[in-house]
């Protein structure tokens, strides 16, 4: 059995979303089984199946956030405070 990751998308602007995983012997069997397992209640109009073996998986260290980079996070508080001051003085 192979493991497939299932993605569904509704027609329109929504992106494909991961909805779960499933097992099937191969792609030919995976498609109808995914349809009945994940899309039988019309949860999506488009479906992607990705063999888990084909995923490129990043090492968690590679994407671990560096907490010491406040310059990358603008919470807007200082701008908001300045604008508030400006409004008060005019």
């Amino acid at each position: 059995m192979r493991t497939y990751e299932v993605f569904l998308k509704k027609q329109g602007k929504d992106e494909f979303r991961h909805v779960g995983s499933m097992q099937a012997p191969d792609a030919e069997m995976a498609l109808p089984l995914a349809r009945e397992s994940y899309a039988r209640r019309a949860e999506g109009d488009l479906m992607w199946l990705v063999d888990r073996q084909d995923l490129i998986v990043a090492d968690p260290d590679l994407i671990a956030p560096n907490a010491d980079k406040p310059h990358r996070h603008n919470d807007g508080k200082r701008v908001a405070a300045k604008r508030k001051d400006d409004r008060a003085t005019t």
Binding site: Q23, P32, L33, S37
Partner: protein
């Protein structure tokens, strides 16, 4: 909604509805028992589609769905024995699914040009689902047939055992001539049986089976007679409703 179908047309629709109900119930019994989780879900999803068709078809013959579907006298059912059989081995359930869905497609074709508008729409809707049911059955049977001898032997034995019942699907109800005269149905059982036989035989031969076609079809007195398995099936279907037959769901 009950419509103004003639008794003959109503009987034709009833037989179709009862077949869908019984096959749906029998397929659904596989929930939790399918060979692996994904197939378990797929087969029971197919069962739900068939029950959905049964509900839509019963709508033409009753206003009291649950009690009508579950509590009739057995002689008032028109289900085919193929649909009533337990088929409690997976190979049999799979082969029946294929034999039945090949026939079901043709029966929807028989009402695709019906004089009843809503039946035509229902046929179109059902066919969109049935395409996947047939693909599902064929996918398994083809792949099993390409595999080990053990699988082939099981499929062959199941086909042998079920064909006489499957051919019995085409024993017409007494009302069929009237249904045809009304234009509610545009193809008779004989024509459908011929198309079905050709389709079944050509797939069997494509998969490399040499099956002897049954000489005797199992007759059911124009579908008025129930199989010996029916009583137990109906009793199991009645388990919930009989707790409180007047409950509203």
């Amino acid at each position: 909604m009950t419509s103004n179908l003639s008794p003959g047309s109503a009987e034709w629709v009833l037989a179709f509805a009862d077949d869908e109900h019984m096959i749906g119930a029998r397929h659904a019994a596989w929930i939790g028992l399918g060979p692996f989780l994904e197939e378990d879900l797929a087969f029971c999803s197919i069962a739900q589609d068939e029950l959905g068709h049964a509900i839509a078809l019963y709508d033409y013959v009753t206003d009291d769905l649950d009690r009508f579907a579950l509590l009739r006298d057995p002689s008032a059912y028109r289900s085919a024995w193929l649909c009533e059989l337990p088929c409690d081995h997976w190979d049999q359930a799979l082969v029946r699914h294929w034999l039945y869905d090949q026939a079901e497609a043709l029966r929807w074709e028989a009402v695709a040009g019906s004089s009843v508008d809503a039946l035509r729409d229902l046929a179109a809707r059902a066919e969109r689902e049935e395409r996947f049911h047939r693909d599902h059955a064929e996918l398994y049977l083809r792949r099993i047939s390409e595999g080990h001898q053990d699988g082939r032997d099981r499929i062959e034995a199941a086909v042998d055992a079920l064909l006489p019942f499957a051919c019995g699907l085409w024993e017409p109800v007494a009302g069929e001539p009237e249904a045809l005269a009304d234009g509610v149905v545009t193809l008779g059982s004989e024509a459908l049986a011929e198309q079905w036989t050709t389709a079944i035989q050509s797939e069997l031969s494509a998969w490399g089976y040499e099956i002897e076609w049954p000489e005797a079809v199992i007759g059911q007195d124009q579908r008025r007679a129930r199989s010996v398995e029916f009583a137990a099936l109906q009793a199991s279907l009645q388990e919930v409703i009989s707790i409180d037959p007047d409950a509203t769901w």
